[in-house]
């Protein structure tokens, strides 16, 4: 393990800046035959809700130019099952596990935080207030700065574990939302969740996704994500976890230069399960080429004032 890649998200120590993006990696098991899960800096779980959810019906995933649209609808077996069946696997991992939580009402989030707070295998909570694929909650929280403040401050009272608020790009001013998360005591923000999109089946003359709309991810969204991270970095001082279409080492470096202290890989896992290994290797070579002795010294460098 190369200590040059170490990074911190609040009190959370990561051996390298690469995290799994929630909902693209299950809880890790499925990928363990392709690589050592300890190659990751940390593992972010599939979104968890209080009760089990069966997700949306009809077509749930559609390939689009350089991306995918999904409308899974937070299918998951619920917190009870997670604690009983998934934690035994996760607690054996020697990398931090970040539980991603989602709810319909603020008290769902509170209850989830209460249940996860005493679990040693869970190192931090990522609060999904930005899922585009559920009717209630989700995005409705994420687009409202006052609600972001409310939900963050209520969770802050419940847990001392690092709180990461996952932000949606489907707003006019993402910085204003990030600022409320920071004010209310969040340890970090992660962005971006997927961009709302749709596709139409022109032969059937109707929307292709069962849920009509879905979340766009993959290389297609990368420049949007990068811009938002750059923007948010100028407005808050808590760490940013950057994500959105990162596919190659160059992408990860760009996100770090824009201000991300860690980055998450999502859609790329579906195509190249070895991406984290390749990206980690690239970052190390880049650091060598540019004489960086620590990852931290790279973060936000793209904000240096340009010479006249």
């Amino acid at each position: 393990m190369n200590s040059k890649l170490k990074t911190k998200i609040g009190s959370l120590q990561l051996n390298n800046p690469l995290l799994t993006a929630s909902g693209t990696y299950g809880n890790g098991k499925e990928f363990s035959s392709f690589l050592d899960l300890h190659s990751w800096g940390g593992l972010v779980t599939k979104g968890l809700t209080l009760d089990s959810r069966t997700g949306n019906s009809g077509i749930r995933i559609v390939e689009t130019p350089a991306g995918i649209l999904n409308s899974i609808g937070l299918q998951n077996p619920g917190i009870e099952y997670f604690l009983r069946e998934e934690i035994p696997f996760l607690e054996k991992l020697e990398i931090p596990v970040i539980a991603n939580i989602a709810g319909r009402r603020i008290r769902d989030y509170e209850e989830l935080a209460r249940r996860l707070d005493p679990v040693p295998a869970v190192s931090a909570l990522e609060v999904n207030v930005s899922c585009p694929n559920v009717r209630e909650g989700g995005l409705a929280f994420g687009t409202n700065p006052a609600l972001i403040y409310e939900i963050t401050s209520r969770l802050r009272v419940i847990t001392d574990k690092p709180l990461i608020i996952k932000l949606t790009p489907n707003v006019t001013d993402v910085g204003a939302i990030a600022l409320q998360a920071e004010k209310a005591g969040a340890d970090a923000v992660s962005l971006i969740n997927t961009l709302l999109g749709m596709e139409i089946d022109i032969e059937q003359k109707k929307p292709l996704l069962g849920n009509v709309v879905g979340g766009l991810s993959g290389p297609a969204v990368r420049p949007v994500a990068l811009r938002m991270i750059y923007q948010v970095y100028r407005q808050i001082s808590i760490p940013i976890i950057g994500m959105g279409g990162i596919t190659r080492g160059e992408d990860a470096v760009a996100f770090i230069l824009a201000g991300a202290r860690a980055v998450a890989l999502g859609t790329v896992n579906f195509v190249n399960p070895r991406a984290p290994l390749e990206i980690r290797e690239y970052i190390l070579k880049y650091m060598e080429r540019h004489n960086f002795s620590s990852l931290n010294s790279m973060v936000g460098l793209a904000h240096q004032e340009r010479e006249a």
């Binding site: 035959s33 995933i61 559609v62 993959g218 579906f270 399960p273």
Partner: protein
């Protein structure tokens, strides 16, 4: 399952728009089972982005093959790969057909869906089991499949454009064989409409065991994206359950998927 760089040995058109791709892939070959699939990476560009899931058409001597129809950009790109090139593939994926202890084995393929049944036919042949292959198609476009089957296999086909009096649907072929009370395993791969008709024809009689391979749009192919959801009913559970075509499937007992439709 594993990721393997497989060398292309053959990638040739066997019928208009239909290609036979054979790959040297010893690791996947040694682990694969009829009904499972591989996930093919088309290269380093971002469009199309995802891997292509394709069922295994046959597996022999360190080789696996797939049969594909050029229907979009992905398959069009695949058709242009030359022998000698390598493809990054993941496999074998999913749960394939379970060979049942029955006295007869019926393989029912609809069009391009017949591909995994060719592999199954060879497996049954190796195990000296009595099998019949039924092929349903629109015109005669899939007749070439016979060349890929064990030469002594009993084989019937139907064509939707047949003149009156000739079998037009796969169920026309099947019906006369269902009168015997013999215990029979049916293995189906084709459109879901075909599965419904076969199920109705067998009328829930319990000397028939029917398995169907379910086709869904897939993302990851390994069970994490939850894109390929299939609603199944798994007695004694009252409530239907959502499972993944790529892990719990693609092959399911007929009753788990269509039970409510009898």
């Amino acid at each position: 399952m594993l990721q393997e760089n497989a060398i292309i040995e053959i990638n040739r058109q066997v019928a208009p728009g239909i290609y036979y791709l054979r790959l040297e892939s010893p690791g996947i070959f040694s682990r694969s089972h009829p009904g499972q699939f591989i996930h093919i990476n088309l290269g380093t560009t971002y469009d199309p982005l995802l891997r292509r899931p394709m069922s295994i058409f046959n597996a022999e001597e360190d080789r696996i093959s797939v049969l594909y129809q050029v229907v979009g950009r992905g398959t069009e790109i695949l058709s242009r790969f030359n022998p000698g090139a390598s493809l990054d593939i993941i496999g074998p994926l999913g749960r394939g057909f379970e060979i049942k202890e029955k006295s007869r084995h019926f393989l029912l393929g609809g069009g391009i869906g017949s591909a995994p049944l060719v592999y199954l036919a060879h497996q049954l042949h190796r195990e000296n089991r009595k099998a019949i292959f039924f092929l349903g198609m629109r015109t005669e476009e899939f007749l070439f499949l016979k060349e890929f089957l064990p030469s002594d296999l009993e084989f019937y086909f139907s064509q939707e454009n047949s003149p009156a009096g000739h079998p037009r649907l796969i169920t026309d072929l099947l019906a006369p064989h269902l009168e015997s009370p013999e215990k029979t395993a049916l293995y189906c791969c084709g459109p879901e409409g075909m599965y419904r008709q076969i199920g109705r024809l067998c009328g829930g009689k319990n000397h028939f065991s029917i398995q169907v391979s379910i086709d869904r749009r897939m993302g990851c192919g390994v069970g994490t994206c939850l894109g390929c959801a299939v609603k199944v009913k798994n007695p004694p559970r009252e409530e239907p359950e959502i499972v993944r075509a790529c892990v719990e499937g693609p092959v399911f007992p007929w009753g788990e998927v269509f039970a409510n439709e009898l």
